[in-house]
Amino acid sequence: MTTLKFVPYSSAFDTGFWHELTRRKLDIYRLDSSDQAIFGYYSNDANDNMPVLFNVDHQCFDEKNQNSYQQQQYSVNGTLKLVNTIEEFKAFDIDSALKAESTLLWNDFIHGRALVDPQKLNRFYLLIFADLKKYIYHYWFAFPTFLVPTSFNLLNQVQSIGERFSADEITTISNLLNSNQSHACCLHRQQSVISLKQAVQQLNDQPQSTAEYLFIINDPSTDPVHPGWPVRNLLTLLYYHLQSVEELNVICWRERFRDGQRYVKHSLYLQLKPESIHNLNDAIPPTTGWEKNERQRLGSRQVNLSTSMNPIHLAETAVGLNLKLMKWRLAPEIDLECLEQTRCLLLGAGTLGCNVARCLMGWGVKHITFVDNSRISYSNPVRQTLFTFQDSCDNKPKAQAAADALKIIYPGIKSMGYDLTIPMPGHAVGDSTMEKVKDDVKLLQDLIRQHDVIFLLTDSRESRWLPTVIASAEQKIVMCCAVGFDSYVIIRHGVPTTESNASSTRYKNILSGDKLGCYFCNDVVAPGDSSVDRTLDQQCTVTRPGISMMASALSVELLVSILQHPLRGQCPALIRADLEESVPEAVSCLGIVPHTIRGFLGRYSTVLPTGEAFSQCVACSPIVRQAFQENGFSFLMKVFNELNYLEDLTGLRAMQLATDISEIIELSDDEEIQ
């Protein structure tokens, strides 16, 4: 005689189950780890080659939801144990828990409750530990069943009902079971449906009539020879209650619906020789039922849900997706990854710095460093968009406060702040402060080296000199932004190339990236000369508030366009942007890449001049760069301390002396100083 073997369950979770569990843990259970009643379900309508699923979903916590299940879904009551620590989980006494759950099941069996209500044929136990910092859930299911009888003896091989019954018989059975919603029942003489209790009673009265009884149990398995767990429990129940029955007929009922048609022929027909276990004296027999893990060993499982539950992950995904959608729908050639990887150094964390940072974040830039030496004052928060009133009460250092503010807006940002004074030409350095200034220069140099783009957003002309020199030596992209009362200028500094002056440009209308000028190129005096009143070097607190936002936004948009161009900082600029002639080399997927943008709010107008690098520029000329690279700090000390040093070095002094004031004529933007 062959024995019947069963397929164990595979646990299956609905994503919503984990969300609901988390919510309950946080709002309801909190530290209470006592047993909770829950329920799960299985179905008898799976497709072939599917594991035997035992499901729990977000409705399982509330008993009221049990009845909202649909056809072909059969509920199972269970116990949830949600422990508070991983140690409790690992040290958990699984034997006792299984015994306790099995006792409930056993009592329902021996006292006949399972005969009255076959829903009680099954139970389960679910042990969980939820790590709500990492959103990792450790779990272990147990489906109690009994180890007696030791084997289920079959009188014949397992067959499908299609092999055993005629088509008519199957139709009859099908029709009888049509409106049956119970987990198990019995067919008498293939004419009527009776309860398990009735069947058992009648069979005990007349055991010889056993051929007239067909027990029906909904079976979640789709295996052609092995039924699922509910069948095992049904047989255990029947073997306990039936006396002297020689043969038992069981159908493991499986249904499938396709396009409204019902298919049942794959249901199994079992003919068994029962083995009475009635004399057990009601002591609970040994049990088994803990689910094996993925490696088929007796152990727990875990699932990591941080990507769909950790809010920080969710924010990252959403922000990334937003940018990708823009790319997919509107600008397919845009390179978003390069933006994400571009490290930006913002010198100045005031009105311009705050707005530039905001716009960079909108583009998905992840590395933003602020440098500023001042603290937040009461007038700042209304214009400096990263600061609050409380920040000004606390008088916080701006650079750090700005970096912190970015993290509150988007936790995935890598932001840093440095409290640093940028040494300036014309601002003397005495012996006592020399070491400090040397350290400051070193720090500034390191910061420039560690970043890809430098934004010059400080509130004075002279503070932009040293970063220009260093960035030029380091061949970094520099975005210089300066504002006046109702005007602004944005200049992308030329980026020197190590290659020799390459081929002459084929087009007359463009200027290559290494030939573009810097902020200081148009000057005939060195910075630090404070006797000349210029619009664009005033302390910025006297500008129209909109100017800062416009200028900051334009600097970032210009930067993004630069980064999209294959030559990046070396990308050329059109000399006359208004000319119709289209020059493909000077265009990125976002449009032209001007050298300078000057805006005038009084007239709502913008012009796009292009300035060539001045060979005697006090900041970006080869003379200055070489002096800096060769003599480093001693060169700088001369610049800081000696009033005319830069002008002498570059030959500007000589030029000034040679120029007769009365001969100065009006220079327009596109004329060059030879």
Binding site: A12, T15, M50, T307, W328
Partner: protein, 156 residues
């Protein structure tokens, strides 16, 4: 009208649910204080669970199809994984409109076919009765993300 009112939507999903019960299909109707919605789920041959939700969008006044694909332990597939599954459909417009959003009732992430094109789609059946419009919408959107829809629903 190219849109549906909330009442029309609720009527449509109710009808679909009734029909589903009759043909023993798997649609579930869930009623919550935040609104009612339909759910359909199945497990495929690779043991991935596909879940589809039909929810009403107040702002667009059209139905929206949310979906998720998860492993049996409840963990979700990422957007990249979902794209892999649908690569054969790249040529269709659907590719541009799959995005991830918070389900308006359950407040957890779902993929969604963005409703911005729904009005356009419904234009083709603008003069049909509401139920037919709804089924038309469902068959177009559902088909592009693998929702099986029996032909029985089209039969009155």
């Amino acid at each position: 009208m190219m849109t549906l009112t909330l009442e029309e939507f609720n009527q449509c999903i109710s009808d679909l649910y009734e029909q589903s019960q009759q043909i023993h299909d798997r649609w579930q109707l869930l009623k919550t204080s935040k609104g009612s919605y339909l759910v359909y789920s199945f497990v495929d041959q690779d043991h991935l669970k596909h879940e589809f939700h039909i929810v009403y969008s107040e702002s667009y006044a059209v139905p929206v199809l949310y979906f998720n694909i998860s492993h049996l332990d409840g963990s979700l597939l990422s957007l990249d994984d979902v794209w892999q599954l649908f690569t054969h459909k790249k040529t269709s417009k659907m590719y541009e409109t799959i995005t991830q959003q918070e389900h308006s009732i359950l407040h957890r992430p779902f993929f969604v076919l963005h409703p911005c094109h729904t009005e356009n789609v419904l234009k083709q059946v603008a003069d049909q009765p509401i139920k037919k419009k709804f089924l038309f919408w469902l068959s177009i959107y559902g088909q592009s993300v693998g929702l099986p829809l029996s032909v029985h629903y089209a039969i009155d």
